[in-house]
């Protein structure tokens, strides 16, 4: 199995809420960004990196979330939280496999504030 590289954006507000000990543990809540589907033929530095939204359904009993199709929203749009969810994960960034900040890439997303103020550059 070969590793794949993903462009992530650290969500400091969510990190402080979910993992107050992030300074000791090195675990941050990271939001994954995806390239715009119409920019597949462009190189990475010229790609628009948009937040990765998906449809989801939550089980009423176990509250387990099952993800559905990919949904494309502008970075400034916050979709309905009852239908759409953004891919994020709490990652241990002290482990191998972290590089950055990538100065050659320009995300369409500003410094994340729990995904509430996305502004297209």
């Amino acid at each position: 199995m070969r590793p794949r590289w993903y462009l992530i954006q650290i969500d400091m507000i969510s990190t402080a809420e979910l993992n107050p000990q992030w300074e000791e543990t090195g675990r941050y809540v990271c939001v994954f960004l995806a390239r715009h589907p119409t920019d597949k033929d462009k190189s990475s530095e010229f790609v628009r990196w948009w937040p990765d939204w998906y449809r989801y359904k939550a089980c009423k009993q176990s509250q387990e979330i099952s993800y559905g199709d990919h949904a494309l929203f502008r970075p400034s749009v916050i979709p309905n939280s009852g239908k759409y969810i953004q891919w994020a994960e709490e990652l241990d960034l002290t482990q191998t496999g972290l590089l950055g900040p990538p100065s050659t890439l320009k995300a369409s997303v500003p410094p994340t504030e729990h995904g509430t103020k996305f502004v297209k550059l």
Partner: protein, 167 residues
């Protein structure tokens, strides 16, 4: 176009491209707007060439690809004419070894524009290593857009136990 043996036959008009006599395998690099090309990827059957029957063209392979190919050995063509050509005809030396990629011991700081050209991001993707918590925290604080590259081994879109949140 009219049949030669029937003077009163119907006169048919064809475009010059339709009268292209060479087989499709001998098309020019930029194909003409021929019948087969015109109806390519369509449900219509290709139109039979109007010259195939009058000219007795049965199979292009027999006409253009003879069983005994002509002798193409030439004493002048495709032969080296100078020293550069002789060097180019030699077997390439593949024994050249490349230097090992440099190990990245800390998160590189590429926030300035000048360092972008000195340390391109492509070279930094070779050997990532462990990062201390203090260095990581400082790098995250310095970063304005909080963007990083992360390598993950898991099958990302098949993961089901992923921590996630909604707004």
């Amino acid at each position: 176009m009219q049949k030669l043996d029937i003077p009163d036959s119907a006169i048919r008009k064809y475009k010059s491209a339709d009268l292209y006599l060479l087989p499709p395998s001998l098309f020019p690099p930029e194909p003409l707007d021929m019948m087969d090309q015109r109806y390519l990827n369509y449900k219509n059957a290709p139109i039979v060439s109007p010259l195939r029957k009058p000219l007795g063209i049965e199979m292009y392979n027999e006409m253009y690809f003879h069983s005994k190919p002509p002798n193409t050995m030439s004493t002048t063509a495709d032969l080296p004419s100078n020293t550069i050509d002789k060097i180019a005809f030699k077997v390439h030396d593949r024994s050249t070894t490349f230097a090992a990629p440099p190990n990245v011991t800390s998160i590189p700081d590429n926030t300035s524009h000048e360092s972008t050209w000195q340390t391109p991001a492509v070279e930094q993707l070779l050997e990532p290593s462990h990062v201390s918590v203090i260095d990581l925290h400082n790098t995250v604080n310095v970063s304005t857009d909080k963007l990083f590259l992360r390598s993950i081994y898991t099958s990302w879109h098949n993961a089901t136990s992923m921590v996630s949140y909604t707004n």
